[in-house]
Amino acid sequence: MMPALGHLALQLLQAVLLVMIAPVAAGFVRKLKARLQNRQGAPVLQPWRDLLKLFGKEVVLAEHASWLFRTAPYVVFTATVMAATVVPALWLATPLSLTADVIALVALLALARFFMALAGMDIGTAFGGMGASREMTFSALAEPAMLVSVLVLSLHAHSTNLTAMIDYTLHVQLALHPSLAFALAAMLMIALAENGRIPIDNPATHLELTMLHEAMILEYSGRHLALMEWAAQIKLVLFATLIVDLFLPWGIATAFDATSLAVAFGVWLAKLAVLFVLLSLVETGMAKMRIFEVPEYLNAAFMLAFLGLMTYYMLEVGV
């Protein structure tokens, strides 16, 4: 009984850690971007302060807001946190990642997105509806691409379970797998799109005709806004963790003891930091693309994921 309790505690710790680190990560990316643009930038903890301030503020509701508008932030936040608990960050065999698989993960994220779009339309403003319609259009293209690129790995590991997939990558003999390279490239492109980072959407803007994410949550205030923003930050860390889990899992704890968990924590932070440095470089170096080019970008991601699938069958089945 005791070890099971310990596992649950670790699962909880990991989830809390991921949720707590998310705003810091967002602040880290902002700071890096500011430094790259020769600005001083806000301190790394600024997003945390923003969140705390927002939680203390009064909620201003539009006259026509229904219960949907009021519940959506809680649903979005809960679904995102649930998704975050599925992804193993420190320890390989956390109880939840053993029960849920990648498809559940994608579904949880889709649920959050669905409610966000509903809330965007509920209030009846032009921006909300526009943002929701764009988000749904793009997610219809992004989700299959994400699923296919994850499925490439599932094919290798013969499982859609995250723990089994990571375990496979940890133990397989190192070799050149073109299919995994394609899947990684697709995954990176999707991660940029899903988190509304720069070639697709500008995370720093609040009033721009081409915005996506911000257009949907424009009407939110107070704790509702805080939950929505926090969920977006968690999603960024979740995607980063998922990418390092699937493609570079080395360092994650396989044994249940303090030293290997501490090492795993350090390695996880280091890997996230590297990914975020890359992200800020991409965001600084690229211009936002025209909104009508986004479907083409997502198509390219889907093509890459599909090429991964094809090359797996063509080149690697017999190997």
């Binding site: 070799a175 050149l176 073109p178 299919s179 390279a181 394609f182 479907p295 083409e296 198509n299 390219a300 093509m303 890459l304 599909f306 090429l307 094809m310 090359t311 069958y313 063509m314 080149l315 690697e316 017999g318 190997v319």
Partner: protein
Amino acid sequence: MSAALLHQLVNGLAALMLLVSFSLLAQHRMLAVLQWFAAQGVLLAATAALVAYGTGDSNLYISAVLALALKGLLLPWLLWRIVRELHVHREVEPLMNMALTMLIAIGLTLFAYYVIEPIERAAELLTRDSMAIALACVLLGMLMMITRRKAVTQVVGFLAIENALFFAAIGATNGMPMVVELGIAFDVLVAALIFGLFFFQIRSTFDTLEVEALHKPLVEEEEER
């Protein structure tokens, strides 16, 4: 270098070949098309050199050098000069939208895999896995030829087919006899030169490089009858 690593490298190059063929099909701008075409030539040369190293067949080194010089450098440069001279370097105009073209391309790739798969199981060569990809690239080149309006892009499609066939030859038989390869190399060069002449002729006769202009007078004659 171990045999397993060599096999993986050949497979990696084959995967890149497929990627380049897809990218070639997805490009909007003429310069980008020619750059990807050049990349295909360089990949071809790399594959030939690698297979030459793996099999110890020194003839293949010569074809690698030929591929690099002709397909990686000379032909793209030649085409780029023609494109600049004729001022057609802006947009590539596909007959149908890109997403549909890409879906067809996926279908063709699946078809190639379906056809080649039983043959692959019988083969023993270092490059056996890349045959399906070679066939897929041939089909993608054909798709490029039939879905483009301008003569220049159609010729790039044609040359891409030739590249893919060369790739298939390396994959299926570890390269053709030297005489055949030299012959093909110069054939392609001469073909490119003749295509260049054709471009200028089509341009000066019809004042456009759109291939549809070629059969317009014929259609009118038929209507007159």
